[in-house]
């Protein structure tokens, strides 16, 4: 069987397995999940290795491991076709890492664990399916498959104002896909000259390039905005803070880490690649919008008090940088964008994992009521500092690689206006430092706050209208350590030795970049 389909198949097997295990056997379910996601990770690793090997061997076609089966034919030409280039391989690797860490991060889920993991797998199926597809229909199908579990995952297992957040998130993303669907119809029905057979296959559509410019002008914005909503593009980003804040840990990880990448990936793979002329014409509008969201997100992160809100807004800023760089439409900048997707995926997943673990013990995420955690849970806090350093672009961690590639690439744009915008974007690295250090200084460093030490045991003391709670605090336990260390290691690998992955991505962007210039 094709290795790409294997991802989906394995997940389906997991789905069935978990479905069959009775709900009270929680450990069985967890270990099934762990095993399954290990397999996924292994597959992903093998995929990367084999991909690089094949490229070494000189495989030149755009998508490797390509495989196609006709599904619908005649009235509407749909085929289940898979294939990956460097970009998708990177994304698949990212998803595999985040999924397995997510599984470990949600180890502690007790309430309706079975259903939780069922929806979790559903979400993963959508994600992987999206990244392996090269057929627009299946791509879109998996896209929405990935969206809808969010509602229940947040609504049932979330915290805070979860119903509202879940509904808002779902509706906004569905609104995005409403835009998207129109665009997809446009792409399909203009996918070939009147004589030729219409197709959903990305490669063929790009090859035919049959859509007249006046139609591109109509469909490009729809498609781009459609994906942009999921990419948290200003001003369509407001689902993200509430959604992330209310979502359970692993769901925030998966959503910010992987799902938001679907947006950027789609913008690049569908909107820009298939409608280049319109993209060239209208890019500046979206560059301005995304440029705004870069700075805007960073600034609003500076004054948030909820850890998750801070991280959500920083995600807005970072994902804005992704689209920003993509729209610069040169190879380096796009490579940077993909790298940024990777690195942001990893580090924001790490952030949410840590926040979840801290929140799980203190039962508050409000930085005003936290302090001095470094003495209490050193492991988690050190990880948090590392995540923060990654996010503010410290060399040796992935963030730096991505951001620098983006800045250098974007600054290579021949138009002065764009270069000035890039300089504006550079300010974000300072603001990022500000809000990251604000959190680090407030909650990790400094003296103990609202924490009392009884013997060796630290307790978090919170008075919640009237009655006083004492929550015992502890450092990370083994599954939390697995989750965080896994993420940190992958962040560090990218950060310390980026050249192979950046080359892998960059070579597969060459053709697109050439076409867009």
């Amino acid at each position: 069987m094709n290795i790409l389909s294997a991802f989906v198949v394995v997940l389906l097997v997991m789905l069935v397995a978990v479905f069959l295990i009775p709900g009270e056997k929680k450990n069985a379910i967890r270990w099934t999940m762990a095993a399954g996601s290990m397999v996924i990770l292994g597959l992903a690793g093998y995929l990367v290795w084999d991909f690089l090997a094949q490229r070494e061997a000189g495989a030149t076609d755009k998508f490797l491991f390509a495989d196609s089966t006709v599904w619908y034919e005649g009235v509407i030409n749909i085929s289940y076709s898979v294939g990956v280039d460097g970009v998708s391989v990177a994304m698949i690797m990212l998803s595999a890492i985040v999924v397995i860490t997510g599984v470990f991060a949600s180890w502690a889920v007790e309430d309706k664990a079975k259903e939780y993991f069922l929806w979790f797998i559903m979400l993963s199926i959508g994600v992987f399916g999206f990244f392996i597809s090269v057929d627009l229909f299946t791509m879109f199908l998996f896209y929405e498959v990935a969206l809808i579990p969010m509602y229940l995952l947040i609504g049932v297992w979330g915290s805070g104002d979860k119903e509202y957040a879940a509904m808002k998130l779902t509706l906004m993303l569905m609104g995005g896909s409403a835009f998207l669907m129109v665009g997809i119809f446009g792409i399909y029905y203009f996918s070939a000259e009147d004589s030729g057979a219409l197709t959903f296959n990305l490669e063929e559509i790009a090859a035919n390039a049959a859509m007249p410019i006046e139609w591109q002008r109509r469909f490009f914005p729809l498609t781009f905005v459609g994906f942009g909503v999921l990419g948290a593009m200003f001003p369509f980003h407001t689902w993200s803070p509430d959604g992330h804040a209310s979502a359970p840990t692993a769901v925030s990880m998966l959503h910010a880490g992987v799902l938001m990448k679907l947006g950027g990936y789609g913008c690049f793979r569908v909107a820009m690649t298939l409608m280049p002329e319109a993209c060239k014409e209208q890019a500046w509008i979206f560059i301005v919008l995304t440029g705004i969201s870069v700075v805007y997100g960073a600034f609003s992160a500076c004054v948030q008090n909820d850890l998750k809100y801070i991280n959500a807004y920083s995600s807005v800023s970072h994902c804005g940088l992704v689209l920003f760089a993509l729209l610069m439409m040169n190879q380096t900048a796009m490579t940077g964008a993909i790298l940024q997707m990777l690195s942001h995926g990893l580090m924001t997943a790490l952030f949410f994992a840590l926040i979840g673990m801290i929140y799980g013990q203190t039962h508050t995420r409000d930085i005003r009521y936290l302090g001095g955690l470094m003495q209490v849970m050193p492991f988690l806090c050190v990880c948090y500092v590392i995540a923060g350093m990654a996010s503010l672009g410290l060399p040796g961690l992935s963030g730096f690689v991505a951001e620098m590639t983006i800045f250098v690439g974007s600054f290579a744009h021949e138009d002065l206006f764009h270069r000035v915008l890039v300089i504006g974007g550079c300010t974000s690295i300072v603001i990022t430092a500000v809000y990251i250090l604000r959190v680090v200084g407030k909650i990790l460093f400094g003296p103990l706050y609202k924490i009392e030490k009884v013997g060796d045991q630290y307790n978090y003391v919170s008075e919640h209208h009237g009655e006083v709670h004492h929550y015992p605090l502890r450092d990370a336990i083994w599954y939390e350590k697995i989750a965080t260390i896994g993420l940190i290691v992958s962040i560090a690998i990218i950060g310390l030795y980026p050249v192979w992955i950046s080359d892998m991505i960059s070579e597969s962007l060459e053709a697109v970049a050439a076409m867009l210039n």
């Binding site: 001003p235 407001t238 470094m374 960059s506």
Partner: protein
Amino acid sequence: METITNLSPIILALPFLMFLFLGLCGNKLFKSNPNIAGWIGTAGLSVVAIVSYYIAIQYFWVEGKGADAYQQFVLFNHEWLKMTDNLVISIGFMLDPISAMMLVVISTVSLMVHIYSLGYMHGEEGFQRYYAVLSLFTFAMMGLVVATNIFQMYIFWELVGVSSFLLISFYFIKPSAVAAAKKAFIVTRFADMFFLIGILILSYYTNTFDFLKLTAVSDGHATLVNTKMCGEMFMGLSVTSIAMFLIFLGGAGKSAMFPFHIWLPDAMEGPTPASALIHAATMVVAGVFLVARMFPVYFFEAHDVLTIIGYIGAFTSLFAAIIACTQTDIKRVLAFSTISQIAYMFVALAVSGYTSEHEACLGYTASMWHLFTHAMFKACLFLGAGCIIHAVHSNEMNAMGNLRKFMPIAHITFLVSCLAIAGIPPFSGFFSKDEILVAAFEHDKVLYACQAFVAGLTAFYMFRLYFRIFWYSENPAHAHHTPHEAPMNMNIPLIVLSVFTCFTWLDKVFPFFPEKITADRVGYELETNWIIAIASILVAVVGIAIAWVLYLKKNDKPDMIAGKLKCLYISASHRFYIDEIYLFITRKIIFGGICVAIAWFDRHIIDGFMNLLAWISRELSYDIRDVQSGNLQQYAWGFLVGVLAIAMFAINY
């Protein structure tokens, strides 16, 4: 040559590995006996030191000397990140006079600090962490100075920044330490942004990061920059100047030039040895090193920027010196003196020429020279201050006084270093500073006057410090708690470092800098300009004399003078309220103004709009509910009206 090439990776690899080792498993392995971690770190670093010495010696006396000039070797250069075919970030090792010199400086001071810390940090919580971060810093600083391309320099630039952050916040339970660390990081980060933008502009035009390409000089031009950027204007300014100025701003941030100087005094919250290493000797001169590294470009293509640098430097040195006269926290005095001395180096670079014909590039030499000497005696001063603080458990002058009989070694070394920094022969500071003044004199009288005055101030405040600590009046506190001499492993570094300052006058040592470290890497004979030398000595002596009068014994003259110059004194002791201005801008304007406004906008306008849509549709659904009135005939009405309306529409369509 092979040996050098083969050895050179050690200088980067070993500290990094030690950092990983100590950082990851230091706490676990050496929980029982943390000192082992310290010894490991020290041992590792001594290896590094030996290797760097070997390389430096080999370079200066064996390999480096080319036909006429010293060559620039790239010992290795590994591709790290490939952006385009030309824009490649490599991690490499460039050996040329200044980097070789820096290797010596860094490894020496770092080693001294390592040894010193064995005593000073003994029994501190997080001893292993401390040594891990020291290793990280050494790694970063080494990588910075041997950078083969400007982006590698930027990478390690960030790394030294973060290790400085980690060391300042070493006592992370102290809010003041945390605040200082944040301040240091963010201020430097802010400057680094300009550095980055500068790099972007530069690389955009020249399409390379490589120092060798950028600084290649032929017939009076930095060729590449000249050909690629000459005549490019942006908003009426030459792009070259903009880029180079931005890059300088990066350096100014790290080197605490006005107006980025505010972080350095607070950075003294960190452990004193760390301050000695990072905030006195090595990291803070990175900016000087950067400008020296890019010197040809500055000199030939952006000379206006060089002039600006000169004046900024001069102002900063004066400014810092004045403040230093009024501080009572000894570490802060030293911090401001550091700022002022680094400013000296910038001035020296600014007044330098390029060629070594008739000492044109004296300034360059002097700057590097002063960098070297200053590193040594300032480190010595800091470590001495560390001993004193260790002894009296306070940074405040008032807690001290008359310590000379308690701690003679600290006293002597401190005195030597003070003499050196004050510029009294035969100590090293005299020579380096004197050359700077000469260069300034020949180039720009205003700068000369300013620097000469600052020299006097320096002498004054350093000896004010010295007298307040070691003479002045006995502090009653010492009666029941007698300060004691520091342990040996703390004193040895003091001695070593002070020794460095004593033998510059030897005619084996003296010609080293003029011969080896020049802008065009061609050596020259240096003869001393005695007029200026004497002048500067006089100025220094005057300064010392005033200090003697005021602070040898306890008396009311200082307060009287302070009363005379009230407003100056007050504002100087408040560091001219620069911090308050910064606070106002950041807290009130950026946080209170922009951020809050944006957050509000996001919650209420953007988010509000989405909620508004939902609200509208819900309201609509309630408003039209009565259409479904339940009354048969109204349904029929609807039906009929529908039919007629549609008919009307369709007919008129």
